[in-house]
Amino acid sequence: MDTFIILVQIAIGAALINNFVLHYFVGICPFLGVSRRIDTAFGMGCAVTFVISIAALLSWTFTYFILRPDAPLPAWVWRTAGGDPGTTIDLSVLSYIMYIFVIASSVQFVEMYVRKFFPPLYKSFGVFLPLITTNCAILFACLEIMKHLQDPTKLWGLHEALTLAVGGGVGFTIAITLMAGIREELEMCDVPKPLAGAGISLITAGILAMAFMGFTGVDKGIQRTLEVWFK
C-alpha cells in the first residue's frame, strides 16, 4: 500500500501542486500559443501527455540501464573489457542529448500518427505539434526522472516515472484548458489597449499560477487520509 500512496502523491504533486506550467514555468510556449480555443487546447494537452509518457518510458529505460552512475550496461562493458572493478563508467553526460533525441523522435512519431488518424486535430495544431519537440515540460519530466535515478539507495521504478509523466501531462492539460477557457471569455471583454493581447494573457497566467499555489500541502493531507484508510 505504501507504493500506492507514493504513486498518488507523485501524481497529485505533478498535476496540481508542482504543476509544470504554473509552478515550474516550463512549457510556456504551447501554454500561451495554443490556448486560444478550448478544443485545440485540450487536444494539445492530450498530445503533450501522450508524448511525455512515451518520452518518460524511453528516458527511464535509457537512464536506468545506460545513463545513471551505476548503470548495468557500462558496468558490464567495463567488466567484459577486463577493467578494474573499482572504477565506474558514468555516461550521465549523455542525458540531455539523449533526452532531446528521444523527445524529438517521439514527437515525429506522434505527428505522423495524428496526421494519419486525426486530420482535423493535425490541422488545428499547425506549427505547434513540431513545437512539442522543444517543449521544456517534456525535457523537464525526463530530467526530473533522472534526478530520482541518481541515488542508488532509493531508485525510482518505471511505475513511479510513468506516474510522474502522466501526472505532469494531466497537469499541463488542466492548466492549458483552464487558460483557454479564460481566454475565450477574454475575447468578449473590453481589455485596455496597452494590455491587450500578450499582456493580458501573461497576467492571466500569473493569476492562475497564484491560484494554484493554494494546492500547497494538499499532498500531506491526502497521504494522511490514505494511511488512515489502509490501516
Partner: protein, 307 residues
Amino acid sequence: MIAAILSADTVTVLLAAAVLALLAICMAWVLGWANRRFRVQVDPKVEILTAVLPGANCGGCGFVGCGEYAEAVARGEADVTLCAPGGTACAKQLAEIMGVDVEETWPYRAVVHCAAGSGDRLGRFFYEGESTCAAANLVGGVQGCTYGCLGFGDCTRACRYDAIHLVDGLATVDYDKCIGCKACANACPRNIITMVPFKAEQMVVIACSNRDKGPDVKAVCNVGCIGCSGCTRRCEVMAMDGNLPVIDYDRYDESGFATALEKCPRESLTYIGKPTPEDLAAVAGEAVPDRIEADFKTTVDETEWRG
C-alpha cells in the same frame, strides 16, 4: 585485455559514441517504419500549388489560407485567378500546374468611391456614439450624404497591411502597400470600397457613390457626382446606371477618358493609383525632416471626450 590499453575515460567516450550511434539507428528504423505505415496520400499537386502561392494567408481568395486554396484549386473547385497578392504571375503558374489556360489577369486593388474630405461633406452633425463606421451607419443624419465615406476608419482597422488610412476624414488607399485582399471592402458598412482591376499604375475611377439626383447631391456634398452623364457621352466605355456613371473595366482604355476627365464639372471622375513620376517630382524639392522631434504634450490634452 582492452582495459589494459585504454583508460576508463577513453572507454567512456567510446561507449558514449557507440550508445548514441545505436540509438540513432534504432530511432531511424522506427521512424522509417512509421513513415511507411502512417503515410497519408496527399495529392502531389497540392504541395506544388502551395509552394507557388505567396503564403501570406490573407484570405482574400475566400479560403482560410493558402493551403486551403491550393487544395480547392487541386480539386478543381476554385479558379486559378483568385489570388490577389500573387497576381498574374501566380495565376499563370497555377494554371500551368493545373494544365488550364488562363486569360490575363490584373491585380485587383481597393478603390474608395468617395472623394469628399471632411470639409466637402455638408450636413454633418456632431456624433457622440461609438466611433466606428458600422455603428455610425446605423444612425441617420451623421452626415448629409447617406452614400459616402463616414470617416471612422473601419477599413483602416480591417487592413492588415497598413495600406488604407484616413486623410482629412476620408479613407485613402496607399497603393504601394495595398495587396488587394479585400478586407477593407468587406469592412465598409456602406460598400463604397470595390476592387478594381488595375490595368495601369493609375486608373480612372468614379470617386462617388451617391445615386441621388444632382440637386440632392449638391445639397450634401461639394464634390459628389451630380449625374450629368457628360462623361458617358464622351467616353464609350462608360454608361449611366441610374444617376451614377459606371466604367466597364473589361473594355478599359485610358485614351478614351481624356475629354471626359476634362469636362467633369465635379471631381468625381479622377485618376487614382500610385504616384506618377510628375507627382513625385513636384514634391521632390520639399524638405523631409531627418528626425521628428517629439512634442511632450499628452494625448489627453486635446482629446474631445466622447461618451
